[in-house]
Symmetry: C2
Subunit: 303 residues, 2 copies
């Protein structure tokens, strides 16, 4: 069975694993990123961790998920707010030079979507749009088991999709952006406005809704409508087989999923009704998806 190395580089921790082609994690090491020590330190650490998990040099390639948009042609991060000093660095090139293995970089959300498309809830589908409903909202377009990151690495930056006009500008995103209206962060903000500082996260609003609090139920219904609106936008632009949904906000799925899908079905053409919603399945989409990057991108040789 073929084996690959998956790297999940976050602002806090970096994890490196040996993963087989079925998605089984055979070995994994984890370390604090310690970005404070600078780019070269972090890279040296990652190279040592690669040697640890691939002692026998069995792996065929390396994939790495990073927190920010990636130019997948130049193989560099184009922005790295959570990893100061990493933008435009030749990360993949350096790892490739040190290990001799083909190395591929992509955004962490794209990598998780790839994992779900190949081995998770999107398995067997030609077009998968993976959506993370979390503090923010992110996405990944996966076509024929390859991530479509777009020209500038921004395909899937769906948190910035506008779903209305005239709403208040909240942060660097568009006023009216879906992430400002229907994410975990948005639900928390709106919950605080209605119920006070006791609301610490979206789960508290979900709890109130489960107790039939009518204001909380209205917030959840608005979220369901806003998300349906967002999904209808994606559907008309790239018409996926399936939307795969992950992220912490899915803990409220008992409340918003059914009405969301019902709203969605009123917003699309009849011929698009077979589009499905599925819950993400992988326990470690970040690390498994990263390992799937080389699998999806190394051209089969004609041995």
């Amino acid at each position: 069975m073929k084996k690959y190395i998956g790297i999940d580089l976050g602002g806090t921790n970096v994890r490196v694993a040996r993963v087989d082609e079925s998605g089984h994690i055979e070995a994994m090491v984890k370390s604090p990123t310690e970005i404070i020590n600078g780019y070269d330190f972090v890279m040296g650490n990652i190279l040592a961790m690669i040697n640890q998990v691939d002692e026998k040099k069995e792996c065929l390639g390396i994939g790495m998920g990073v927190p920010g948009p990636v130019d997948t042609v130049a193989q560099v991060m184009t922005m790295s707010s959570n990893l100061p000093g990493f933008a435009h660095q030749p990360i993949a090139e350096q790892i490739e030079a040190a290990t001799g293995l083909p190395t591929f970089l992509n955004n962490d959300g794209n990598v998780a979507g790839l994992g779900e498309a190949i081995l998770g809830a999107g398995r067997g589908c030609d077009t998968v749009y993976y959506v993370t409903l979390s503090t923010g909202i992110g996405g990944a377009l996966v076509i024929n088991q390859r991530v479509h990151a777009g020209k500038h690495g921004y395909a899937g930056e769906i948190g910035n999709l506008m779903i209305d006009r005239g709403r208040e500008k909240i942060n660097h995103l568009n006023a009216n952006a879906v992430e400002c209206e229907a994410s975990g962060m948005a639900l928390t903000r709106k919950g605080k406005e209605l119920f006070g500082a006791d609301i610490e996260h979206a789960g508290h609003v979900f709890d109130l809704a489960r107790k039939h609090n009518s204001a909380a139920l209205r917030l959840v219904d608005e979220m369901a409508y806003d998300l349906a609106y967002m999904f209808s936008l994606i559907a008309h632009i790239c018409d996926p087989d399936v939307f795969v949904l992950g992220g912490g906000v899915m803990q409220g799925k008992d409340l918003f999923l059914q009405p969301m899908e019902a709203y969605f079905r009123t917003m699309i053409h009849d011929g698009m009704q077979p589009i499905r919603f599925e819950e993400a399945q992988l326990e470690e989409p970040g690390i498994i998806g990263a390992a799937m990057l080389p699998m999806s991108l190394i051209e089969p040789s004609n041995e």
Copy 2:
């Protein structure tokens, strides 16, 4: 030079051409579709026209653009309001059986987008989103010189993208659909409301705007904003290199293109600013793009 047959099947006319791989139309025949005579009649006519343009049997494949969404895996139209009786018919299969040539079907807008991506304004780009601004609004996503029609053939049905809330429902599309607010049809409707029945098409509104009529200038500015909103949606979902714009409404480009692009640039992330807008270049995108279908889809053999 390799040669292909392109077919542009419309509700009124059908055109069949022999096109070389550089996009040069070597021969073309045209005939009324006469859909009233039924599916078999139309197909018989098309087969005769194919023989006319490819007398010497030089062509390597056949591509056909049709007015409606196509399931590109099953190779059938899924809806055919302008070609009654054509939905779910084995059009490509029958042509392939009669001619012995690999035959591919796709939506006419997708086919035009493919032509522009391979030989027109999108030449050399990995991801092209082609948008027709006409009576209606349509689009095509072309990735690595292949049309991405989506699972159900609805990728690019961007006329139905919602760009606001609370607008009036006009037709079968979503209330708030961009086609109902910013197409040629929409501009005509809004022009009639403001200026009366003398407004027969969008060009009349453009004429008034060119004479500095303030109400007409406002309509054009609203259209520019609405279109910018639509382009920002597409940009965050698939991040193209370039938007290629075609269609009759482009005759008002002197009025709306510059403000549209300016609005658009306020609606996207900094890293996406290199996205370009280009005007469509091909004189016959429908027929040339159809001929590019087999070129883009026939796998190179290992001769």
